[in-house]
Symmetry: D4
Subunit: 253 residues, 8 copies
């Protein structure tokens, strides 16, 4: 693609269709856009056909509103994470479809309801893990994935999980959120053959060290195929689950 | 599926096709095989149509040989990781197609060459990361994925990576292996929209703390969609990359 | 008991049965033996009617032999942990009943076969955890507990564990040894109502940090009633399991 | 038991006592209840004949009240940990027997005073360890164990502890709570032959690192038979102590 | 210089120009000022012709004002870091040229605008790193360096950085502030040949551990020539950048 | 420069001096060489007019020889770090000027003796720090800096350092290598006004944790203007010192 | 002494001066008081002829008042550490000589001014270390040591310390309080031959990790004769300094 | 002293007794020798009238021999720590009084037997702690202190320690060496009123982390008056104990 475009540009210059100055200006952009690094010219959140995501922590209500207004000018949907009720009040005024997901603090705006594809399952160990699980679910959903959830199925009562093996088996990608011993990721990873994204949560006290116990346990999962996100990073897990879930089918050559 | 099978079994008992004892025996298996937890009745490595993988570290040459012999009775292919030349000598005798991948210590046996599907790209930052990169590549390959590699493209000379943006863009899943600052994972994650599996390596000295510096950097990658494996876990990354790469296309839309 | 003995001694002095000097000498011992701290006058390992245990690491073969000889003069049984084949060769000469448990390096001598009581179950996640599991089993056994084992039932194939729920249910105390994610302790703790002693093992690599990942996971087990030992401390777990297993029934109700 | 029940069910189907649909429904429950994993069908806290325990941290007053109301419908007793005065005010209204243990924040409700069995001793090093010690004592007590306490007997004044060797000797299980150097666990473990459950507390400052100093010291206790709980986990220690204390006597076979 | 002064003093004594007592008094000062350790007789901040810098954290508004008043008596410029609006209000009254740099909390006073030399570039990865970046920039500027900035060019969108390679190439010294994965330092270090001072910031959550992830990544930068400051130490980076930027040209001997 | 070259190229195409294909080929290189990221097209070590540096650890003797041969074809000088006597024997054969610096394991080859500029001072705390100090000194020297050393002047005998304040005062850049308490960096930083590069060494035992004690102390140096390298990274310190030492004088004022 | 008392008691029993019951009662006390562990029968703070010290953190104002009242009944002096203005107000009412040392929060009461002996010097690196330094000084003073102080002599301006070598040389024991790089302890330890007690303070930010950087640096001090206290433990340092300072002269036998 | 010497020198110049050049030369030395920092002009080990101590780790046999030869020229005694049998063989030839203390690897030479003063007691918890205990004892002894030892009195059998309270009570300074839980330091600190120097040892495994568990426990000792040395630093403890033990009696009262 890059080569084709470049060739076209140079041809137009060679045949005099464009001036030297015009070619110069165009080539300058090329260096960051078309010359092989084209994809980086999109803001982080724009990937997958989705607009930039607003990480609200550390931003003023006004700053978030300004950014949101800019995004909504060009996009039909918006995701803001770690937001507050105050921020929601402002975004609500921008668009009536705004929804506040209170546990995680995520705000979504979706002007035209789009279809959801595939099957992402978000599993959580206990009720304290819900904020992180919700952030993952809301993220994958607004980006375009069909999302199902399975809550409070921690290994201390493993039958609760076993009751839902069908749900586990049907999922294309599974996000597991768990704090403390993080054991749920290993158990789920041992039950299914699909990719598992483990998110340690900071739930716990004492020697959980703010999520480190779950993080280490998950990194050392004896089940193959478990990858790990940063502590409490529900957004990242949701975004990755969506990427995996919506991979176009491979054409085995 | 479970329900259908169960119903059939009970019907056969109800109509006298099978005896009570036969039903008993069958139901006992059900509890772990068909009653909803069927998939766990397969050994860890059997997932994805691939036989159990032999982790050789801590096993004697003889033990590995015995296990390999058993696997080869039922499977056309075999993967043994962290093996030695001594182990290879023994497996070579079992099957002439045995190959020893020296950097990583992986041994593969593939009696009937099967097709490879999709497109997994394994990227490494420096030559010292090659053992881990090779383990990932060999794993995904023997499991059935088409694998490409891109070596020695660490960020200290970022142009080397930018030269290969095409390769990056074409991959369905990318495994990034890097030690020390682990920065390559973030840069690759920022350049592509596909799932990135980051594997920190224990390469480095001093404050790299055996891979902890790269591990933390990768967990904190500012690029969305980067998931992390345990330090030096090339096998896990390869297995997960293969799982993602060969996900059947999602139908439910 | 203390008071009774003391009273008797003083009576004997008061009625002139013993001299002042004799009372003096006896009372000096009392201060550390009978005056309420009597039990500490026995060497660490002598508890529970069992002789001192020899921790061989860092001792010469000769030193171990000397200590063993002294113990065997007064005791019908002996336990030496972390021993070598060289040490075993020496102890073998001291007593023909000496047995070497190779995985753990434990040596036991039992001149008169005594009865075993109760029911201690030692569970291990993988074959690499066997040395620690064996140390726990051998310890509880030689001290007088009936010991059963359940090996290679890690959560990555949870059906293997579920196949043995009967064994789990019958045990009075369960010792769980597991490295890496240590998840087995939580799963077992969630399946049974009996005391569970979790022993993290140093099995693993990378971010397992020599057993820290399993240690933290076990300390944060969401199952109530799981207590944790030091990494690789099979001996301690076996000794504690024996103590719990042989607690006399509580009478005061 | 499982087998017996299963056989009975199948027989009834075989002889037409129940319909296929009835058998189906029953077998579905079996998979999680009767097919060998029966015990996991009880909520975590229901073990030992005791109802679910409410961990109040992170729950609203209203949520706690709702859960408590549900529990009290089916149970004569209730335990809520890490509660507040506000929560207590609500639970007080549910039942007049509600008691608030202020140091630990535990609330107990016991409608019919039940007997207490055995002998659990809870020892604390200093007055700052009392909240954790109280949580342990209240837990074991409400679950049905006879509990005694011994406070402020830290090793900096070891005579205070030695004064109470009788109490130590009489206990069936001992819970030791200590922060800072955690030395009390080792000293108690050296004085008694009964199981010792050590609970590190977050008491201290500087290099106590929120309880890590005591945790490590306790894990490395040179006294055999000391097991360790998570930092500040008085509840877990109390529950485990109760489990050990009320083990039915072993019938040495 | 020292020697010259000393010689002069002694000559004056030898020829009777000054009394013994006068020489004594002068020599006493010499011991710390002129006898070879002269440079240490200046307060920390006085280096480079710049007055002492006030670190406001932990000082009362009044204390800062008092110190500032003293400094301004002898100096034309002043720098106060980690200040508050309250402190600024007071310093504003001392001098109308006082400026409050709100993000970093730095206050500068510059009575006579002096020239700026050289070329220090301060680069930041994200908007959350701005407080630290500003502290570095303000520090180098008030000390006398010409400072340029480049904000929000983190590696997750590497084209943003590549757009500014000219700025990078022109700088004499570059300060890079980044949190989370700290990858920007390595990438910049790989693009330029000039000294790079990396400042990890405490931006991030979870396994960023308050800046540790960025700190370790920067210490392990695979680009040669990257030195690291303490987490969030923008002042130190600015001061060091100024020192390097204004080194007099080396006269190759 | 980039712009000028680009303009020239396009002009030549526009006027038909070069063909479309020739322009295409040239522009492809531009993307990584001239389009603004030109400097990255040089290997890491080529900076400052110096050839790539060979890090020998983990490379075979033969591999090092091959790389060295390649470098020497295009460069008059060569630096190999962490080398062995065996490697030296090989390189010796390549060039008679090869020198082996035994403490650090550095090998230098300098076919034409070039001039040394400026003044880099390498200071070490104790004799155990010499390997790291030597690596720093050899690196800065071979790259072209005039290097002086000051050894065994640790703060436990601070007069030894004070004896050499002249040397300290004359240096343009100072590299301080110290293990254990790392205090020398702070003391030197407090004595001079020039840039100080601190290199923690892994010298020490116990709570020095392989250099962590010195690393943390140096990062927290209360002297402004101290930047820190990775533990034992003498090469990095030498390279950075050389960069700073040979900065061309700033002109823009 | 113990033996003498014991002998006397037994004699009185033997000759009938006391009854068996009286001897029993007396001997019970002996076990902890006179039988060789007599000294431990005094509360922690009573050592050295000084009453128990009240650690106020975590105690209510009323609790402190009650304890203080009890102490003052039997002692002429009192020390309360980590107190508040509220506590001071109460203690002030108990005794007019009460003094509040605001920086450290220490309160002293000294009804009869006693003499001070020896020479303890408390040195601090910066003004932020003053609270800890003050706690050390107040503690040693109220216990009976003559205390001198030397403030703000951190190594970043080492001449300030060198100005006071006389003071350092005259001290019998030196307490050094420093945060951040903790270098002052090593420098002082290198200048004097007397015992140095180093107290790391939690002063600093970022990689000082709440005092860990100073703690590690001090533990690794290359000056022999430096011992270390817990972070911020000024009280412990003062108490130990007093113990050393007032050791009776050794009688060389 | 300084002042007096200075005055004398200047007088001699003033009256012409010495030339200007002579005064210059003398004053130069003054700056580091007589001007108040005189004591630092002695090598580290020369303090207390004892010669420099040779730390052999990392030195060749020949290097140690050379240094020893130099020391013995000026000193009647010598201490070399962490030495080997090979080094001993060489030193033996230098002086027949050389003694090798095998456990700790310390070598002492004492040509003229000097008197020992005071009373230092070195206590160790277990036999594995003996190397560190021996290093402390040998150090204090050769420096001139009377040293007594008490071995294998760890808290797991606390009666062993209580048997020796007399020894504890008689000591002027006590060095406690212990690994694992380090509890012995707290217990000893609670039994005596004299200074206690705690040395954590690297004895242990698993979560002892090479001595960290004991180090943290000792730093958090609840007994006042316990100071801590680096892990395994027996030499430092012995040297400090000697300093404290031989403090001249304080006169100023």
């Amino acid at each position: 693609m890059l080569e084709k475009n470049l060739r076209k540009l140079l041809k137009r210059l060679a045949v005099g269709e464009i001036s030297l100055e015009q070619a110069m200006a165009r080539l300058k952009d090329f260096s960051v856009e078309d010359l092989g690094v084209a994809q980086v010219d999109h803001h982080r959140g724009l990937r997958q056909g989705f607009a930039e995501v607003i990480y609200c922590a550390g931003k003023t209500e006004k700053e978030v509103e300004t950014i949101a207004r800019a995004i909504l000018k060009k996009n039909p949907a918006l995701l803001a994470t770690r937001a507050t009720a105050g921020i929601f009040a402002r975004l609500r005024k921008l668009d009536k479809t705004a929804r506040f997901h209170e546990r995680s603090g995520a705000i979504t705006i979706e002007r035209e309801k789009s279809l959801r594809a595939g099957n992402v399952l978000v599993v959580s160990a206990g009720t304290s893990d819900l904020p992180v699980a919700e952030e993952a679910a809301v993220t994958a959903d607004i980006m375009g994935s069909k999302v199902d959830v399975l809550h409070d199925v921690g290994v201390a009562g493993i039958h609760r999980l076993l009751h839902h093996v069908d749900k586990l088996a049907e999922a294309r990608v599974i996000v597991v959120t768990a704090g403390m011993d993080g054991a749920l990721a290993s158990v789920v990873g041992g039950l299914v053959s699909r990719p598992v994204i483990a998110v340690p949560t900071s739930v716990g006290y004492g020697a959980s060290f703010g999520g480190v116990s779950a993080l280490l346990a998950m990194l050392n999962s004896c089940a193959a195929g478990v990858a790990v996100m940063n502590i409490d990073n529900g957004f990242g897990a949701g975004a990755l689950a969506h990427k995996i879930n919506t991979l176009p089918e491979s054409l085995a050559k």
